[in-house]
Symmetry: C2
Subunit: 213 residues, 2 copies
């Protein structure tokens, strides 16, 4: 059955981005260190349309994460720009250039209406009426495949708190950020989880949980 | 060589005790759920002077944790009472009755002077001049053995922030507490860690790190 999945890199102190996120430094101070383990991988570079890269114990974890995803939901923070607000006359096209690496329908949660944006094989649809609606549309677009909740923290926390997530994988990175965007902020003890598996790999430990209902 | 070690159960959202800690509920709301995995173990029950208990993949982790500890440092919050403040005329003797399970020198960080307290095989020494002094005394008492930083969060965070810890083991429990005593509060990116090993076991995942200097 189609699942709603979260996979996210998180610091030991629970942040998915560092303090002081800006347009120049969208992951905040130290935030890039959360992704060192993944950007060197062939699996990641392939998906981003790049050559080369390593194979190691992280590779199957990342291939599993990317497999069978039919649609993605992201927050305005992930789509950008960092200033947010109304789109203006020359609206922001995302961080990813002319050929974004998603190549599937992407639903962007925003307070500001906008027509869909198609760049190469990716169409961004802007949803202004909340996470439940975005999820309904994403599930419809995904068909038998899964829906990936792509972040940032605020969006993931909203979906976790609303009980809309089926699987949550934490890529636990041994860095301490000391501040930033906190995973689980506003999520309470109603969220019940059960460990599915642990993978120890270079630079990161992967903990995958199922949400218990 | 003698090491300074932390081993602590932590919720997925980074708390080592739940919200609203009181004298009746010292672990806060939901906080007992952090310790379910350990209190059923023979290894834990033995150390607490109790019969029975299970053996499972958690047992060697707990035996390793308890082995070779020559002294413990704890904060006033762990020693109690929850009200803290001056000791008064009939001073609090700790939560553990006439035969506390430590059976080694314990150094209690407090702002209020007090003579040492011996209960069966455990002597509590009260230290009013800060973590460095407590550590010096604990190391001296431990000799060749390790010093265990027993908690709570405030004390552990103080030692982590001051760079005084050699090994940190997180027992990651799949509960969300939504608030409480936060591990890593006030600890910044100067703390560099390297994973030593991961153990997946019933009800918990053990992540052990070495502090890199």
């Amino acid at each position: 059955m189609s699942k709603v999945r979260v996979h996210i890199s998180v610091s030991l102190d629970g942040y998915v981005a560092g303090p002081n996120q800006t347009q120049e430094n969208p992951l905040g101070e130290g935030g890039e260190g959360l992704h060192d383990w993944v950007v060197s991988l062939k699996a990641w570079r392939e998906a981003a349309g790049m050559d080369g890269g390593e194979e190691n114990a992280n590779s199957p974890v990342v291939r599993d994460e990317y497999a069978n995803v039919g649609a993605e939901i992201m927050g305005r923070g992930k789509f950008g720009p960092a200033t947010r607000g109304p789109w203006g006359d020359e609206p922001w096209q995302g961080w990813w250039g002319d050929d974004p690496p998603f190549r599937k329908p992407v639903f962007v949660l925003t307070h500001h209406q906008r027509e869909p944006l198609t760049l190469a094989d990716t169409t961004f649809t802007f949803v202004t009426d909340g996470p439940e609606t975005a999820l309904e549309r994403a599930k419809h677009a995904a068909g038998d495949k899964d829906v990936f909740i792509g972040g940032g923290a605020e969006t993931i926390n909203q979906f976790l708190a609303a009980g809309l997530v089926d699987e949550l994988e934490l890529h636990v990175v041994p860095v301490v950020l000391g501040g930033g965007a906190r995973l689980f902020a506003g999520v309470g003890p109603d969220l019940k989880l059960e460990l599915l598996r642990t993978v120890e790999a270079p630079g990161v430990t992967h903990l995958k949980y199922r949400v218990v209902r």
